[in-house]
Subunit: 328 residues, 2 copies
């Protein structure tokens, strides 16, 4: 009687979902869908099947929720509306500016099929969004701050790796401690991009590459680095493998605001996460919202939802009586 | 077209609700209900009425949500089920052990009347409960910690004031910094009551009272102080009025947990608040959930709810489109 989950895409996120399912006894992994030859893919759940994505329609009625683990740039805009025709789906679509368009496409598809689709699930968008909303409704007169890091930015790491002469690279986004302190003090500072985050790069060069030229190329790269104070470290391949093989991340959402007859009282609300593995944390959130999509659909709900639309009780396998008695 | 709010009880919480309503343009205060002679009560909202609680039934249809600002010991167990017969209601019932019983009583009443009642709204129970739930569903294998303070405990302050020879007193609950550090480090410490919080008292003595006898009486008081390291400071009435007239509070909910194929990755989730005014922050939360009760009831929902049952989108006056575009 457990909830049957399918995974589409078996990268870091998909593998994280597979691990997370094992931490949730009310769920089981039924199948992983891949664009590759299924024979070429080795998964760690012995009871689950690997299938080619072209066969997915045959799984209608056999899988309760599909968790989409592709990328926001090209995979999810196509996949989420497509698979919401057949399954409850959850995705981590994170291109903030395109969320309204994605929502509309997915909603149309999920309403037609009578399924529940929950989009933009993760920590930002996701848990950070929830914390922005909760803090805003409590403190309507106040100011929001979001800091990211210390953690690996995949996009910035890719940008550095694309530079000629760079063999490998990793970029860490780091909140500026003095900016954080100013925010937490309640002084409501106006902070520029440069004042909020530092960018630090660890770069392995190709033989004979010109370090100072590459350093300059990184620091002046528009959109990615030009607006930041950037530190560039050149290291050996050994050091890179030894010290920079994990994908940590974190960050905080802070709101400060005032209440009282004369706005004399100041309040601070801070939500902070510190993650050894960014994809595994995101996967764990996806799995909890997969449960919610299943429970909601069983109640006859359909259409596209975001974390804002999901009552917290739907996320847990525990009964309402139990969570009121133990967590309230 | 604004949401019409009634307040029952005009202590710190009731006054906080009155102030919070002014920060929410979609709401207006219609009336404050009191057990006292209405003439004796001066409120700060000129457009609102003060009425005796005995007249409350006449307000059916004129008030959308009643916010109950009485105490959990004797007021709310009676008032919330009673007024849910006529109105959508929100309360801050915080006697954790009695929540199941209170829920059942209120649910029966609200289902019969077709109204929505949201109970145990505030920060603990309330925002802290939500954060426990969210962190638990994301990290099923982990450990929860709740710290309170630095802040005033009304119950402990009252207990000290009841000692013969004590003229006035205030008690602050303070998290132990080393315990917090151990928790945040991810070492999953087992912490005793004494290891988690210190209690600090500021006491004004009556003329001729025996300080050392009173200090001993405080430190050995069962349930309140005996299990804690307690600091007792005797101060003058002037110092008391100057330094201890506000009601600050705060605290944090922390969960650490592991993910990964071999549980090799550690994560920390922390929700932290720091409040100049405990009652005003609680009041601001009550007002946001009053909006949710109104919106839910307009959709035909009835019965007793807690923060776990309320989708975050119901808390805001903004449209779903707007919050998706600006906060997600």
């Amino acid at each position: 009687m457990s909830i049957k989950i399918g995974i589409i895409g078996y990268g870091n996120l998909g593998r994280g979902v597979e691990n997370a399912i094992r931490q949730n006894p009310d769920m089981e992994l039924s199948a992983v869908f891949t664009r590759r030859n299924p024979e070429s893919l080795k998964i760690s759940t012995e009871t689950a099947v690997v299938a080619n994505i072209s066969e997915i329609e045959k799984w209608q009625g056999k899988i309760d929720v599909m968790i989409l683990c592709g990328g926001s740039a090209t995979d999810l805009p196509v996949q989420t509306p497509e698979y919401a025709k057949y399954f409850n789906v959850v995705d981590s679509f994170d291109t903030h500016a395109k969320i309204p368009e994605h929502f509309a496409n997915v909603d149309k598809s999920a309403k037609a099929s009578g399924k529940v689709a929950i989009i933009s699930v993760g920590w930002d968008p996701g848990m950070f969004s929830l914390n922005r909303l909760y803090a805003n409704v409590i403190l309507p007169e106040g100011k929001d701050y979001t800091f990211w890091g210390k953690g690996v930015s995949q996009g910035h790491s890719d940008a550095v790796r694309r530079i000629a002469g760079v063999k490998n690279a990793k970029q860490y986004t780091i909140p500026v401690e003095s900016a954080l302190e100013a925010v937490r003090s309640g002084s409501n500072p106006e902070l520029t991009t440069r004042q909020k985050h530092i960018r630090e790069c660890f770069v392995v060069l190709e033989d004979g590459a010109d370090a100072s030229k590459i350093e300059n190329e990184i620091k002046t790269m528009p959109n990615y680095f030009a607006d930041y104070d950037t530190i560039v470290n050149f290291i050996s391949e050994e050091e890179f493998v030894r010290d920079h093989s994990t994908i940590p991340h974190g960050g905080m959402v802070i709101r400060t605001g005032k209440t009282g007859a004369n706005k004399e009282n100041q309040h601070l609300v801070e939500y902070r996460i510190k993650l050894d593995s960014n994809p595994e944390f995101t996967s764990s959130i996806l799995v909890a919202y997969a449960r919610a999509s299943y429970k909601l659909n069983n109640e006859g709900v359909s259409g596209c939802k975001t974390v804002f639309d999901i009552a917290p009780a739907y996320l847990t396998s525990k009964s309402n009586e139990e969570i009121r008695a133990t967590m309230l």
